[in-house]
């Protein structure tokens, strides 16, 4: 198994000085290609900081982060933007769609930033929306769709430019149980199609559906197990 994510001795300290908060405390972690990982922790455990670190949205105070063998822990803003664009598909709890754009336009955005031409962009965005079952919602704006549909648009956006990693932050946190099930089903399918999926959650019910479960607490990894109850759908 190839190593995709290698985190070595990473710490993140907010407000350095007297009132400093150690959100991550010397964390080391390796995730290989085609893994399905859940990172579970209570709020304040440092899981969001870890997610930001993994997603190249934040830089560590100390330690190293290698993504695809490349040191991404101390890059410029623009380099980080490019890495996020190429390597990572984000699925957020609050969907984070742009309200003024249609579903299709939202899905096209990362492709625009990558410089993909109009025709190819259309093709990829349409394929991504089709694969999450939104053939009929392409011209709808986010506020014309249900939460589950919005999250599916967000997933389509995350997979449109075919990044190796899907990073999902509480993907079902804002959804009812029926929609949750649907979203998890899609996420599992994406994993089975060959992507690396990392889910950050506080919900053991969600974490139980992953193949590998990493528990984090007080900015440190408490356990890292292969889920004995994992079952392929």
């Amino acid at each position: 198994m190839k190593k995709l994510v290698v985190i070595k001795d990473v710490s993140k300290i907010y407000n350095p000085g007297e009132n400093e908060v150690r959100a991550l405390n010397h964390v080391s972690l390796t995730i290989g290609e085609r893994e399905f990982v859940a990172i579970i922790g209570q709020s304040g455990s440092g899981k969001s900081t870890l997610m930001n670190m993994l997603g190249c949205l934040d830089t560590p105070t100390s330690g190293k982060y290698y993504l695809h063998g490349q040191d991404v822990s101390h890059m410029t803003d623009d380099e980080q933007s490019d890495i996020r664009n190429k390597e990572i598909g984000f699925i957020f709890q609050g969907f984070n769609l742009i309200q003024s754009l249609t579903a299709l336009e939202n899905v096209e955005l990362p492709l625009i930033y990558r410089g993909v031409g109009k025709k190819e962009r259309d093709r990829l965005a349409n394929a991504a929306l089709n694969s999450v079952g939104l053939e009929k919602r392409k011209t709808h704006k986010p506020n014309e769709m249900s939460g589950g549909q919005q999250q599916r648009v967000a997933i389509a956006r995350a997979i449109a430019q075919a990044p190796p990693i899907l990073l999902a932050d509480e993907p079902t946190g804002n959804l009812d149980s029926a929609s949750s099930k649907e979203i998890m089903k899609i996420i599992k399918r994406l994993y089975s199609e060959g992507r690396t999926v990392i889910i950050i959650t506080h919900d053991p019910g969600i974490a139980q559906q992953a193949k590998r479960i990493i528990t984090i607490s007080d900015g440190m990894i408490k356990s890292d197990i292969i889920n004995p109850d994992y079952k392929e759908d």
């Binding site: 930001n52 997603g55 949205l57 934040d58 803003d77 623009d78 933007s81 490019d82 996020r84 664009n85 190429k86 984000f90 957020f92 984070n96 769609l97 742009i98 309200q99 003024s100 754009l101 955005l109 990362p110 625009i112 930033y113 990558r114 410089g115 031409g117 109009k118 962009r121 956006r157």
Partner: protein, 404 residues
């Protein structure tokens, strides 16, 4: 490029989304651009109008005058021939006698008169045409015939009719009286400037005569002339008047004596243009200040927009937008905003110019330069004042922006 199109589309979406606010923001730019266009067009119209009026009243001529305090030399009729032979492209040369305190007597009464003595070239001195009869010829000048030209209005006063050709008018200057036969009538000078400035003055007749007859009847010596009028096309007038002055200087041995003084209407037009130009420049600065105020309005609203859309910026950055992409997006929004304001401003400005110019009876002159200039200025304001908000947006950290 596809991305630019995407920014413009997003910018237009954004404007539509905030229609009322967009309009209020653009208002500053609209007023500024409209003011610039109107002021420029008004300035041009005014210059055009004043020049036209000046040419209408005083014609396209210049003069060369001898300064009697520096020399005793005077011009003679031979000098007229000399100038005609040695200076090309002249439309005519004439001595100039002008007696403004004359009296003219016709069958219908006696009136104050301005009696002018000159050559046939004086026909060109005013823009109003000889519509009846003819102007006196060179031959009439050389043979000293007692003929004259007057205005249509003068004929009505003196004879009670325009049908007065061949009739005689009695001219009296300083106790000397002579009879002149009317051989031509000019159209009245219908100048608003004259009517405005001279409206309250008493009526007086304007009578033109051959200078030879004028001089012998009223006691002047035609071999002692102190000035010449020089007629030439407006665009070469200034040059020709100088050339004539030089020829006369040489002929009378006055080189270096600085005894000749020359002046052309072109000089006067330049002076007037300088004054009018100064006035326009001042007004343009006032308009520019309103543009700057408009630009600051744009900057403020863009800052508000950046704050409101922090989350959007965070989303865009998280999915891979570079700093430059966000900057470009907000800059194109500011540019589209000001450009639309500019276009509306141009339309309003042209409309306003039209109304003002037609109220003042000016010609409507909208130069492509002022329209293009206004367009570039408005886009420039968008880019200039948009840069700070755009950089502010682009520099946001995605996690901070997403946390909102």
């Amino acid at each position: 490029m596809g991305t630019v199109k995407e920014y413009l589309k997003s910018a237009i979406n954004q404007m539509k989304h905030n229609g009322y606010r967009t309009f209020m923001t653009m208002l500053g730019i609209i007023i500024g651009i409209a003011a610039v266009i109107t002021v420029v067009s008004l300035g041009k119209g005014m210059t055009d109008y004043v020049n036209g009026e000046i040419n209408g009243i005083v014609g396209n001529y210049g003069y060369v005058v001898i300064d009697s305090s520096k020399t005793t030399e005077l011009f003679t009729p031979d000098d007229i021939r000399l100038l005609e032979e040695s200076v090309s492209d002249l439309k005519g040369v004439s001595p100039y006698f002008d007696e403004t305190t004359a009296r003219a007597k016709g069958p219908r009464g006696t009136y104050q008169a301005d009696v002018i003595g000159g050559t046939e070239a004086v026909e060109l001195a005013v823009s109003s045409k000889v519509y009846k009869g003819q102007y006196f010829t060179r031959q009439m000048v050389e043979t000293g015939q007692k003929v004259c030209i007057m205005m249509k209005n003068d004929a009505k006063h003196l004879f009670g009719t325009e049908e007065c050709l061949g009739n005689v008018v009695e001219i009296t200057i300083a106790g000397k009286t002579a009879e002149y036969t009317v051989i031509g009538l000019r159209e009245d000078i219908n100048s608003e400037m004259i009517n405005t400035f001279a409206g309250d003055m008493d009526y007086y007749a304007t009578i033109e005569t051959p200078y030879t007859a004028f001089a012998s009847d009223f006691g002047y010596d035609i071999d002692k002339l102190n000035m010449f009028l020089i007629f030439a096309d407006q665009d070469v007038l200034q040059k020709k008047v100088k050339e004539c002055a030089k020829v006369l200087e040489n002929a009378h041995g006055l080189r270096g004596a600085n005894a000749l003084w020359s002046y052309s209407m072109a000089d006067m037009s330049e002076e007037i243009n300088t004054v009018l130009g100064g006035a326009s420049t001042f007004l343009i600065w006032v308009a520019v200040i309103s543009l700057v105020v408009g630009g600051i309005g744009i900057m403020n609203i863009m800052l508000v927009s950046v704050t409101e859309r922090t989350r959007e910026i965070g989303i865009r950055k998280s999915i891979g937008a570079r700093t430059g992409a966000i900057t470009a997006q907000f800059l194109s929004e500011a540019a589209v905003l000001t450009l639309s304001g500019g276009v509306i401003g141009i339309i309003v400005g042209i409309g306003l110019s039209y109304i003002v110019c037609s109220l003042l009876h000016f010609n409507l002159i909208i130069t492509p330069g002022s329209v293009l200039g206004a367009t570039f200025i408005s886009v420039g304001i968008g880019l200039g004042f948009g840069i700070y908000p755009a950089r502010k947006a682009a520099k946001m950290k995605p996690i901070d922006a997403l946390r909102v």
